[in-house]
Symmetry: C2
Subunit: 154 residues, 2 copies
DNA sequence: GAAAATCCTAGTAAATTGATAGGATAATAA
DNA sequence: TTATTATCCTATCAATTTACTAGGATTTTC
């Protein structure tokens, strides 16, 4: 393996890697899916989702809070409370989910649609090979996220 | 911004983000491009590339070493020495460059072609929404990397 | 008013990144 | 031969990020 660098996050044997999904996003997606699959619109408790999806409850708590604050979920306190979707799954595109949980879809700021920033080390985007490549990567990822709503993942 | 989390790596104002290109890969790509643009096959010194591309020389040194060890570059020591491409740019697909510098192209191990690993928290890939989405993301990224050789970025 | 749930801020250990330090080795030129 | 030039190589480091956990405040229901 190159460089003798190994990587613990996927648990073993991986080389050096950066471009990967955070647990936060992974768990967030699983929770949204779980809520979408539930019959009716009854609130579902954090504890139930955490248990069914093998997620740390406290960690999931903070993720669901983020999703609520960003308009994906509603919540109810007290007995019989919990979280529920406030939109139809087919009206929740993955672009918005990814942007909220994971951040910009672009892999470099100079090709970001919503968070554009000039790279300070690069004098000219027009001739930058990284820019050229990452623009294509962004577009292809964007296409996938635009094509998929929560309903498509069920 | 959600969660009050800010991100320093792109330098300011970004929210929480993970899916981004490392400097290592960015610099590696720039160096490869630089070498591909040079006339002839004369070795180019690290110092020259570092200066022209605004890269820390020592950091670049370690990156070029990785690229050499992985069969992209040849090197020559002593005066007049440096690094040079040992293949034609059109014969260097971005898939191999990305895999060596950045790691697996997949964003989760359970959809990785070369580094497959079952997610330990997920009982069934067939019904996993994350798996379903990330499979599409991997395929679209792979398509881009397969379509682009170093020659295409010049 | 007790119980059950979410809300919210803060903190933390381990991993990762993006470097730097410092010398060993090899090739060339004087 | 010796000095110079450049790559080779290992080790180390501070700052950042991740993936949590702690601990209580608040709100709703019974």
């Amino acid at each position: 393996m190159p460089n003798g660098q190994y990587f613990k996050r996927w648990n073993v044997k991986f080389r050096y890697i950066r471009v990967m999904l955070s647990k936060k996003t992974k768990y967030g997606l699983k929770a949204l899916t779980y809520l979408a699959r539930v019959e009716g619109k009854e609130p579902v408790q954090i504890a139930e989702i955490a248990k069914q999806e093998n997620i740390s409850q406290k960690f999931l708590e903070s993720i669901l809070l983020t999703l609520r604050r960003n308009g994906f979920l509603g919540s109810k306190k007290g007995k019989g409370g919990g979280y529920y979707l406030i939109k139809e799954p087919k009206d929740i595109p993955m672009t918005t989910v990814m942007r909220v949980l994971e951040g910009p879809i672009a892999m470099v700021p100079c090709v970001s649609l919503n968070f554009y920033e000039k790279c300070d080390d690069c004098p000219d985007e027009a001739t930058c090979s990284v820019h050229k490549l990452m623009l294509q990567v962004r577009d292809s990822a964007l296409e996938v996220y635009r094509d998929n709503t929560l309903a498509d993942l069920l």
